[in-house]
């Protein structure tokens, strides 16, 4: 009854270069890929458009490759989930399908998630019995069925060289990237609850240098990457968190409020108040940090109801004050941002066109 005709159609052919170069043609083809060099090229003030067209369900980036997931209904009623990838240096000429799966209906489709680390990318799938699992394919594409990493229903995925992480309502879960029968789980109840509140939600997860950093209604904490010990508080707070990122000796997080702030604590935790890096922001969210700069998006809003944001940046060593890098970005706030060694990536949408954008650091 529940057998699912889960037709795996993995295609490993490079598509002909059907991108539009630097000339956007929004004709019959709902996808337009561009060849701007998002590795060595681009500007620190004018973003490159890498893709424009049909709205992707999600995307992921590493240092060399962009992965994009599309969900399309078919005349038969089936739903196709297709992952395409391209080289960041020349996307239009290298775009290819690296995974395609079909499901009998949208309700049978797992949450389209995507993460990339090392030589593989990871996503959610269902087996022939309908059970959800985390699957993996080589970055070059799946030649056969995805490799099963573990059975789980994850609302989000973070991949590292060692493991896959995800948060449920009040706990963090880990599965070694090779395989796990049962994910390791660690309760984060104190972080998932605001004081006196019953609702739970772990808002943000960032994994770096052997630790997982988590922000939620109760504040910010970290737990060892193997989840072998209880979490340590970094900064308890009842203020709403807008993002988290860690680099070196510091963990950065934002208070997503009308009078928002960018804060940081030592990775071992704050003694007393957190250091205020930037104040007077409006719902600062989606943090990304490298050795030199902390980036974030501010939600300015406007009376036309568009969710326009600004991209802000500040030197982490305090050598320069906060600055606005970009204004009036129609950011898709329900999609992640990514940063690699050379660019910052996000999705935006305006006038019915969805774009994947890259800004050189």
């Amino acid at each position: 009854m529940h057998a699912m005709p889960n037709l795996l159609l993995t295609l490993l052919f490079a598509l002909a270069a059907f991108g539009c170069g630097d000339s956007v043609n929004l004709g019959d083809n709902p996808e337009h890929w561009f060849d701007g060099d998002a590795v060595r090229g681009g500007s620190t003030t004018v973003p490159i458009t890498m893709y424009e067209g049909l709205s992707p369900a999600t995307y992921a980036v590493d240092d060399s490759t962009l992965f994009v997931t599309f969900v399309e209904g078919q005349p038969s009623g089936f739903v196709a989930v297709t992952v395409k990838s391209c080289d960041l240096a020349s996307c239009a000429s290298t775009v290819r399908i690296v995974s395609q799966q079909t499901y009998p209906s949208a309700s049978a489709m797992p949450t389209p998630l995507l993460a990339v680390a090392g030589s593989e990318f990871f996503f959610q799938s269902r087996d022939s019995m309908g059970a959800q699992y985390i699957g993996a394919c080589p970055k070059s594409g799946c030649a056969s069925a995805p490799r099963q990493v573990g059975f789980a229903s994850a609302p989000s995925l973070v991949a590292t060289d060692d493991a896959i992480y995800w948060c449920s309502s009040s706990s963090i879960n880990r599965c070694p990237r090779e395989w796990c029968d049962m994910p390791t789980q660690r309760s984060l109840d104190a972080i998932a609850h605001a004081p006196g509140q019953s609702a739970t939600k772990l808002s943000f997860l960032f994994v770096a240098d052997g630790y997982a950093y988590i922000a939620g209604p109760g504040g910010v904490a970290r737990v060892k990457g193997d989840l072998a010990a209880d979490p340590d508080w970094i900064y308890p707070s009842e203020l709403p968190m807008g993002g988290i990122a860690a680099r070196g000796d510091w963990v950065y997080f934002s208070v997503a409020a009308l009078t928002g702030q960018l804060l940081r604590c030592p990775v071992s935790g704050c003694v007393g108040d957190a250091e205020v890096m930037v104040s007077g922001q409006r719902w600062p969210s989606w943090l990304a940090v490298d050795d030199a700069t902390l980036y974030w998006f501010n939600f300015t809003g406007d009376d036309r109801g568009e969710s326009l944001v600004t991209l802000g940046a500040v030197a982490v060593d305090g050598s320069s004050g906060p600055r606005t890098v970009l204004s009036k970005v129609p950011l898709m706030t329900n999609r992640p941002i990514f940063m690699n060694a050379h660019h910052l990536y996000w999705m935006d949408a305006s006038d019915g066109h969805t774009k994947i954008r890259a800004l050189a650091k």
Binding site: G196, L239, A257, T259, D303, G305, S307
Partner: protein
């Protein structure tokens, strides 16, 4: 019903128009067309007798068909209104309201109207809180009374605003996504918003007097904070006396009453409750357990509670609804709206019909409100003399 209502409304409108034209023709310079330079004229309709039935000051119609909120100052009634061309703010003189009705803001786009209008110093404070597509864009505006020719945004681009309270030169508002109250100077907010209180993710009831902001967190105690910020948030226990628990503590039954609807007036805290402050938990309003008590406490810790009204708990009793208090006059709703003098409520209680306490304002002598109407019927603007003078 729609047809009858529309017909009646059109007839009334024709009569009103004819009377208006006749008055224009015969009365010449005595007609007050709402110009702010005109002094208030005697109000022939005003009855100082609280026992007299409410007076209808304005019948809304197909050209001005809705009343979303109301405010009054010494001379004018201000209304957040709906028109075929969009939403708007109108004002009229208390004397001859129908003849002096005048648009002062708008027309605004549909969905751009004001949910709240408050007289604050020489200004009107205006709150817009509607969703626009996937984004809820709220803003708080100001304009100079009475003509509002300078309406301007004081703070904007906000997510859903829980509620707002205005002083003459300061305002306070709640943002649910932030779980915070903010404050700023009014009417410019030139210094930018400042956090007033945090840790309030949901707001069930909100009230302010000269010194305090009060709120009810679902499942948590009534909390308050001094407007001047001179003390931290305190949770109060609404028991036989007003008590205090540490912030974050449990000021909930059995320590005190659960009050879903709160009002403050002068130095009193008012609440609707389903049991008396000195009753055992589990006993109270039967059979529905809906609120049947109006209780008040002095705002000083240790002040004794007073049950100022215990409503009928008969089979048809559906409980007390909205609660407002205007300078000692309590307004609440059950099957219809009632008012009373808070110091002698049972003795002075009177029904005023289908008034909406949430769309009500008061001056020294009168209560003004927009009526609750059936779907398809137009609101009316009404007035009645206060019981408490």
């Amino acid at each position: 019903m729609n047809t009858i209502g529309s017909t009646a409304s059109r007839t009334l409108h024709r009569i009103a128009s004819a009377l208006f034209l006749a008055c224009v023709a015969s009365c010449g310079a005595r007609v007050n067309l709402g110009d702010s330079s005109q002094p208030p004229a005697p109000d022939p309709d005003a009855s100082p007798d609280p026992a007299a039935p409410p007076t209808t000051l304005y019948q809304f119609n197909q050209n001005l068909f809705a009343c979303y909120d109301i405010a009054v100052d010494d001379s004018y009634v201000y209304l957040s209104t709906g028109e075929p061309g969009g939403l708007s703010v109108h004002r009229c003189r208390k004397t001859d309201c129908a003849g002096t009705m005048k648009r002062v803001v708008g027309p605004l786009c549909n969905g751009c109207g004001y949910e709240k209008i408050v007289v604050a110093g020489n200004f009107l404070g205006l709150m817009h809180n509607a969703s626009s597509g996937p984004v809820s864009v709220g803003h708080i505006d100001a304009c100079t009374r009475p003509d509002c020719g300078d309406v301007r945004q004081v703070v904007g681009g906000l997510p859903t605003i829980g509620d707002v309270a205005f002083d003459d030169n300061r305002f306070y508002w709640h943002l649910s996504p932030d779980g915070s109250f903010y404050q700023c100077s009014f009417p410019t907010c030139s210094e930018g918003p400042r956090v007033f209180a945090t840790g309030v993710p949901a707001l069930r009831s909100f009230a302010a007097n000269a010194d305090w902001i009060y709120w009810v967190n679902p499942g948590v105690a009534v909390s308050r904070k001094r407007k001047d910020g001179s003390a931290p948030v305190e949770d109060v226990i609404l028991g036989p006396v007003l008590g205090r628990v540490p912030h974050g503590g449990a000021g909930v039954p059995p320590e005190g009453l659960t009050v879903g609807t709160l009002a403050v007036d002068g130095s009193w805290i008012y609440g609707l409750s389903s049991r008396a402050p000195d009753a055992d938990a589990g006993t109270g309003c039967e059979p529905s357990r809906s609120p049947c008590f109006v209780v008040r406490w002095p705002d000083a810790i240790g002040g004794a509670a007073e049950v100022i009204l215990h409503e009928d708990t008969g089979i048809n009793f559906r409980g007390l609804g909205a609660l407002r208090v205007f300078q000692g006059e309590v307004v609440y709703s059950s099957d219809q709206a009632h008012t009373c003098d808070a110091d002698a409520c049972s003795a002075t209680r009177r029904a005023i019909g289908q008034a909406d306490p949430d769309r009500m304002a008061s001056d020294r002598d009168y209560l003004y409100w927009c009526s609750r109407t059936m779907p398809g019927m137009y609101d009316t603007l009404q007035r009645v003399a206060r019981v408490r003078r």
